[in-house]
Amino acid sequence: MSKIKAENVNVYYGSKQALFDVSIDIAEKEVTALIGPSGCGKSTFLRCLNRMNDVIEICRVEGSIKMDNLELNSRKLDVVRLRESVGMVFQKPNPFPKTIYENVAYGPTIHGIAQSKEEMDQIVETSLKKAALWNEVKDRLDEIGTGLSGGQQQRLCIARAISVSPEVILMDEPCSALDPIATAQIEELIDDLKKEVTIVIVTHSMSQAARVSQKTGFFHLGKLIEFGPTDKIFKNPDNQQTQDYITGRFG
């Protein structure tokens, strides 16, 4: 089933067009990977899905992006609510300079999700458990989040993202600064999360895209060149440009 349906999305930074007529169907409770050379528009597209492009003054988004039939690109949309249901994890782990507990409790607090201290404790614990971080931090919840290792910080950011029970999580190169073990932990987490959440991940690692996703989209120069089942894309893509890119023949 389709969770997000983008149709003819065009994005401009000032007069420079960054995305050209991108149409894509993102399936619910699946992992969709977006790949492509640097500057092809992956992050730009990802930001369309939670209206993060709004914060870039010169950025203009055209076209339709529907999530469960709700038009995300509408002026009337409640962007705060949207970001509650569409969470985001970035390339560089960016915990707040606050305690581990506060990092996770932040979202539920501003969205008024927890009614009591007990309920909040529960949300923090569950989120950290889902992010496979609980065992490592349960005795130091009042320590500062930025004091964790890179891989732990990234899992903290994921815990923060899932604390508000989002329907969609966007990840922009979430493992690029992590070692293979931390990467495997995040990938295991992604596998686990997709039972409940729709995930869109941008990655420069072909093997990561192949490992974690069910669908893969290849972007090039602002266009979605090919989109299909991940095994098809990596075994026998239809498009020559896709094949050149994934086999290292580009340029």
């Binding site: 093997s207 990596f234 026998n236 290292g248 023949r249």
Partner: protein, 226 residues
């Protein structure tokens, strides 16, 4: 699809080396088979002995290709066409090794029974053997030139060898009924005829691999069976 070279030259070179090794191994196996058949045609046992000896090199090639493939998978993580290239090389090398082995086996039997053999049977063997040689040659060409049609032709022609083998074996049994004294020689010849058929089967396997390499699809339909 005709491919651009890889950005990383050493990767390009490794894949090229793998292809070249398959072609070299294939050329050697073709020669082994040819020597085996010519040994009978020319009644020259030294050719059979050469075929037996050359099988050592064929085995070495197989090991070398396996090493190359494992290295490529471990160190390069090939994708798409490169992955097919790598996996297909492994499978093709093992079929080539079997063809080499079967040629050697025929040659060994020949060295045992000598070249003074019932003419009617050796004539049949020769025709089937040449047909199998042609198949091996064609399928190696299809690999070298990425020729899908040639691979399909090989796949479709295997039935002929199968049918030939059946009638050749029947003829050999008939010969035996009339010439009971030939039992030693004819028994060996029966195995030799069967080996030719199996060589044809391995050429067909390779044709399937070449087709997969080129298209990413599997050859459709029932495998022709005689």
């Amino acid at each position: 699809m005709s491919e651009k070279p890889h950005i990383v030259k050493s990767y390009e070179e490794q894949l090229q080396l793998l292809k070249n090794t398959i072609v070299k191994m294939g050329t050697g196996v073709e020669k082994q088979l040819e020597n085996t058949i010519q040994s009978l045609v020319k009644k020259d046992i030294s050719l059979a002995e050469k075929s037996i000896k050359d099988d050592e090199l064929t085995d070495k090639y197989e090991i070398n290709i396996e090493e190359q493939v494992v290295n490529l998978i471990a160190l390069r993580q090939p994708m798409a066409i490169d992955l097919r290239e790598t996996v297909v090389a492994l499978k093709v090398s093992s079929d080539l090794e079997r063809i080499g082995d079967l040629s050697k086996n025929i040659s060994k039997r020949l060295t045992k029974i000598g070249t003074d053999l019932p003419n009617d049977i050796t004539k049949n063997f020769e025709i089937a053997g040449l047909k199998a040689s042609k198949q091996v040659n064609a399928v190696l060409n299809s690999y070298l030139h990425r020729a899908k049609d040639t691979a399909e032709n090989v796949w479709n022609s295997d039935e002929e060898i199968d049918q030939m083998t059946n009638s050749n074996m029947e003829a050999a049994v008939k010969h035996l009924e009339k010439n009971k004294n030939d039992i030693q020689k004819v028994t060996q010849l029966l195995f030799m005829l069967k080996n030719i058929e199996r060589i044809g089967d391995h050429a067909t396997n390779i044709a399937e691999q070449v087709y997969f390499l080129i298209t990413g699809d599997y050859l459709e339909g029932d495998r022709p069976k005689g």
